[in-house]
Amino acid sequence: MTLTTAHPQRLEAHGVSLGYDGTRIVDGLDLAVPDGSFTVIVGANGSGKSTLLRGLARLLKPEAGSVLLDGREIHRYAPKEAARRLGLLPQSQSAPDGIAVVDLVSRGRYPHQSLLKQWSPADEQAVRDALELTDTAGLAGQAFDELSGGQRQRVWLAMALAQETDILLLDEPTTFLDIAHQIDVLDLCARLRAERGHTLVAVLHDLNLAARYATHLVAMKGGRIVASGAPRDVVTPGLVEHVFGLECRVITDPESSTPLVIPRHRPFAGDADHTAEGDL
């Protein structure tokens, strides 16, 4: 697959191969993340979607090819310079014992700080903003340990937002959250894109949520991109069968008019209702 984009986008992957200790997981992949999009990467377990995100976030150095940020290879940036342009919400949930929410969120300012610039007015504003946006200002003085899972994820998001990067990558931001908190997090992402023009790239497991929130959907299989584009063009019964090995119907979500995947009922032995219809 070659890129035919006329204008280069801010975040691109060119023929990038990624893996661990010689096991190649992503193989010669090209991707241009449309500026100002909410790009969501979907795929089955082991499809390489999280590995791709790690490559885009410079957590993993490509074995071949390159990841370009603003036209320059991302590994050539000084670490802090890259961190002022591109942020990441990683999956790791570990926080130091007893740290308070405001102290945790303020760590997001690290790439903007130095020994003699430990807390500028811009730092102050960014942290207040991030707490406000994620509705966590009321938790500022609390210990992070004592928060619920939904509150924690909002606090992590606040930390990433305090970093004030135009591009934000999110690695499965909704895992371990109940449905209401999943919607909260994704609504906030959609808002960041719409109101602030941020570019977001997320890996999501839930295909229906992905189709609902993405402005640009990327489907991966075996370390390659098999389809990308607007959700209504990408999410088809044929593609879901191909990517996830799942037979399904695709209907229109009555709330958002986005594609909604309904898995086919798979009757099993002893399922009396369906054996009667004889469709075993």
Binding site: Y20, D21, A57, R58, L59, A78, P79, K80, E81, A82, A83, R84, G87, L88, P90, S92, S94, A95, P96, D97, G98, I99, A100, V101, V102, D103, L104, S106, R107, G108, Y110, P111, Q113, L115, L116, K117, Q118, W119, S120, E124, V127, R128, L131, A137, G138, A140, G141, A160, Q163
Partner: protein, 359 residues
């Protein structure tokens, strides 16, 4: 709403109650609580030093202590204070400072309260090096010190090597490999003692307990500069360590290549721990407990380096004083006392970690 008025920094909502001091374009964060804790610890250290110089079965009033320190006491007082008690107390303070700092550095980079040099084998390795110097190279002060540093550095390098996979170090694996290395090195130490001449074996065995008796000005001149340099280097790493306490991935995404910081912190920590072991032998408990106690006092996030070092110094001076005086006419090595208290503390810590599902 955080309830923090616009006139104050939002940071003041946290338990550190941080304030911002601005000078032109520069700005520095001040943590009043942390400062107060450090000042109180310095005061406690001075009180502990005064106590250990003065209060004893052979007491010397404080004013006589001061006279003797400045060389105007009686010959007996000057011998007891100037030659025996003062260098021993100062050695104790520096060893405690070094152990507290090393503990804070290691616990920070391993992200684990058990990741302290006495638990993960670095002290034992330094002791192995010192024992080799004592038993096979005559056992001079300098040889023993160099042996301890070589042993500590060698152990750290091996543990690091075995804990590395995919070109990165998993902190928890570092702790596990370190505990294993410590157990093996303890066996090596025992083997050396069993194989040595009776007299050598006995003095080596006493040394292995951890002792400050008879530590003189020569020792102080060796450990002093090492601790001073170690302290400065550690403090320079402080801000990076605070960012690295989440995970390597998060540190990278915040613009910090943490692998380098981790190696630097371990190098400084090994230097400090080895210097401590060279001076006193492996004193247990201080490196493990001091950072945890300091953190609970300061309630500050981050590695709490200075507070941990000062806590270690206060602990060790007090422990040595108690070991010297509490069981008179016998004087116990400080390692016996710190070992008993440390063992109980370790059991408590392990059970707490177990409940949190981390150990």
């Amino acid at each position: 709403m955080s309830g923090v008025p616009a006139s104050r920094s939002v940071l003041s909502a946290g338990p550190e109650r941080a304030r911002v001091v601005r000078l032109g374009g520069a700005s520095v964060l001040v943590r009043p609580r942390y400062l107060v804790v450090c000042v109180l610890l310095v005061a406690a250290l001075l009180v502990a030093l005064a106590a250990t110089l003065s209060i004893s079965v052979n007491p010397i009033p404080l004013d006589r202590v001061l006279t003797a320190v400045f060389g105007r006491g009686t010959p007996a007082e000057e011998l007891i204070v100037g030659t025996l008690r003062l260098p021993r107390a100062l050695n104790g303070a520096l060893v405690g400072l070094a152990l507290g700092l090393a503990g804070a550095l290691f616990q920070s980079v391993t992200r684990n309260p058990l990741g302290s040099p006495d638990v993960i084998g670095f002290d034992t390795g330094a002791a192995t090096g010192a024992l080799v110097a004592m038993l096979f190279a005559g056992g001079g002060v300098l040889a023993t010190s160099l042996g301890a540093v070589a042993g500590g550095v060698g152990t750290a390098a091996l543990v690091f090597l075995f804990a590395t996979r995919h070109r990165t170090v998993a902190p928890f694996r570092l702790v596990l490999v370190g505990i294993g290395a410590g157990a093996m090195l303890a066996a090596v130490n025992s083997l050396m003692i069993v194989g040595a001449q009776v007299y050598d074996a006995q003095s080596a065995a006493v040394w292995l307990v951890g002792n400050l008796a008879g530590r003189d000005w020569t020792r102080l001149a060796l450990i002093g500069p090492v601790v001073a340099v170690g302290l400065v280097l550690a403090l320079l790493l402080s801000r990076r360590l605070a960012v690295g306490e989440f995970s390597d991935d998060r540190a990278t995404s915040l613009g910090l290549a943490f692998a380098r910081t981790r190696i630097a912190a371990i190098a400084v920590g090994v230097l400090l721990a080895s210097a401590a072991v060279a001076t006193s032998g492996p004193v247990a408990f201080i490196a493990l407990a001091a950072p945890q106690v300091a953190r609970r006092m300061s309630r500050a996030s981050g590695p709490n380096l200075l507070a941990s070092g000062l806590t270690g110094a206060v602990f060790l001076v007090l422990a040595d004083w108690a070991a010297r005086e509490a069981f008179q006419p016998r004087q116990l090595p400080v390692g016996v006392l710190s070992g008993v208290v440390g063992g109980l503390y370790l059991v408590w810590l392990l059970s707490r970690e177990w409940k949190k599902g981390r150990a």
